[in-house]
């Protein structure tokens, strides 16, 4: 086959391909409903809404606070002078008044009776803690409420080099996943590879590993929810900068559990 014949065959196929693509591009577009992306609730701790003060109001408040801050030391000096036996005129000039006097009229009241403590549920395996009950002078509750935060559970299945053959013990790990994951929960299955070879090949291999684990899990767990299968190659190794690490040849199964353990 000469070069011209070769070029003729390839260019003919190419022209047909481009012509098909042209038809697809010019085809009328059908709008598709796209669901809104769900926010990552468990990664963000909700905070109480605070009123944003801006502009003229903020400047007025700042001026008031500054004026009060200037008055406090003078007031303290006057009070001390009344209590002290030494007359004010005889006191040395370098006497420094406390800038932040602690008094019973402080706006925040902290009390720690045993009945007034609130125990927080363990979050992500942390030990339970008792925090003091906080309240303002006017009775406003300041104690934070415990959040019902899910625990992120990660199980790992390791693989042999350059293959989709897992090391021993995969069935035990998957059985544990099937037992711990609540029915219908979403499970992320992420494949990884060690840092060797081409990047594109690593993506494919990691994806094949993740798909292998997904197929085994589907057999074991009948009431599974959505399974998100991803292959990330060696973009997320265990210890960056250490070269080829056998532990990187893995598939991670991640899901959220609300059970208190």
């Amino acid at each position: 086959m000469t070069e011209d014949e070769f070029d003729e065959v390839v260019k003919k196929r190419h022209r047909n391909f481009v012509s098909d693509l042209d038809v697809a591009i010019r085809a009328p577009f059908d709008p598709v409903a796209v669901p809104a992306a769900r926010s990552a609730e468990h990664d963000v701790i909700p905070r109480a809404r605070t009123k944003v003060v801006a502009g003229r109001q903020a400047r007025a408040r700042f001026k008031t606070a500054a004026a009060l801050a200037g008055l406090v030391p003078a007031l303290v000096v006057v009070l001390l002078s009344q209590v002290s036996l030494v007359p004010l005129a005889e006191r040395s000039i370098d006497c420094v008044a406390p800038r932040c006097p602690v008094s019973s009229t402080s706006s925040l009241v902290v009390s720690t009776p045993s009945s007034a403590t609130r125990s927080l549920a363990p979050v992500n395996g942390a030990p339970p803690v008792a925090i003091p009950r906080l309240a303002r002078a006017d009775g406003t509750e300041m104690t934070p409420t415990p959040l019902k935060t899910p625990r992120r559970i990660v199980h790992t299945v390791n693989f042999t080099a350059d293959s989709v053959v897992p090391v021993e013990g995969i069935d035990e790990v998957l059985a544990e996943v099937a037992r711990e994951a609540s029915p219908g929960s979403e499970i992320s299955i992420v494949g990884h590879t060690a840092r060797s070879g081409g990047r594109q090949g690593a993506y494919l291999l990691s994806l094949r590993r993740a798909e292998f684990v997904r197929d085994r899990l589907v057999v074991l767990m009948e009431d599974h929810g959505e399974l998100l299968v991803t292959g990330v190659g060696y973009d997320d190794v265990v210890e960056p900068g250490t070269g080829v690490n056998p532990l990187d040849r893995r598939v991670q199964l991640m899901f959220d559990s609300f059970s208190s353990q």
Partner: protein, 195 residues
């Protein structure tokens, strides 16, 4: 009458400020010429990116961005066919990197994919011509770039300019690509005869 045409000076050596162009300048390459170029090149540009190995959605978005870029620089671009391919490839590389980052975020934060819409027609065409696309994608990167431009009817001199390589190197890469694709072409011919 004065027409205003946006001209991006980012990346160009001539730091000419944004300026208004007269209708006489604008007449050199009219809007109609651009539309003609768009009609002729959009699908070829999409095929160019798909051959390079980019994902379907990245290729489509990059084609749109590159077309906008060439429209903004229409009066300054001397050879739009070569220019737009360079721009489209750079845009696609940038998008592919961003897409990879979003992929990592997606599994770290349990986010489902933002866009689930898929162009069914285009996927079907890719399935039909998958042997052609796969055969070209299997070529080494340097040979692939040269060969794709060759099937797009670029001369060897133009290929050398676009790739920034000597003509002799372009010839050599083309020869290697032909050698690697020969088995696929022969098989393709047999299949056509069989049909």
């Amino acid at each position: 009458m004065v027409l205003s045409v946006g001209v991006s000076t980012a990346g160009s050596r001539d730091p000419e400020p944004r300026r208004r162009r007269t209708i006489a300048e604008y007449d050199r390459r009219t809007e109609r010429e651009y539309e003609k170029f768009d009609r002729a090149e959009r699908a070829a540009l999409l095929a160019y990116l798909l051959y390079q190995g980019f994902a379907q959605h990245i290729a489509e978005e990059s084609v749109n961005d590159a077309m906008l870029e060439v429209y903004a620089n229409w009066l300054d671009v001397k050879s739009p066919r070569a220019w737009i391919r360079t721009v489209a490839r750079r845009v696609a590389v940038r998008k592919a990197k961003a897409d990879r980052r979003s992929l990592l975020d997606r599994f770290k934060y349990h986010r489902p994919p933002d866009v689930l819409a898929e162009d069914v027609v285009l996927s079907r065409i890719l399935d039909l011509d998958s042997d052609l696309v796969d055969a070209i994608r299997r070529l080494p990167v340097q040979c692939r770039s040269v060969f794709i431009l060759h099937v797009d009817d670029f001369s060897v001199r133009e290929i050398a300019e676009v790739e920034g390589i000597p003509e002799r190197t372009a010839y050599e890469r083309l020869r290697v690509a032909r050698k690697m694709l020969r088995a696929w072409v022969e098989e393709s011919l047999k299949n056509e005869e069989g049909k």
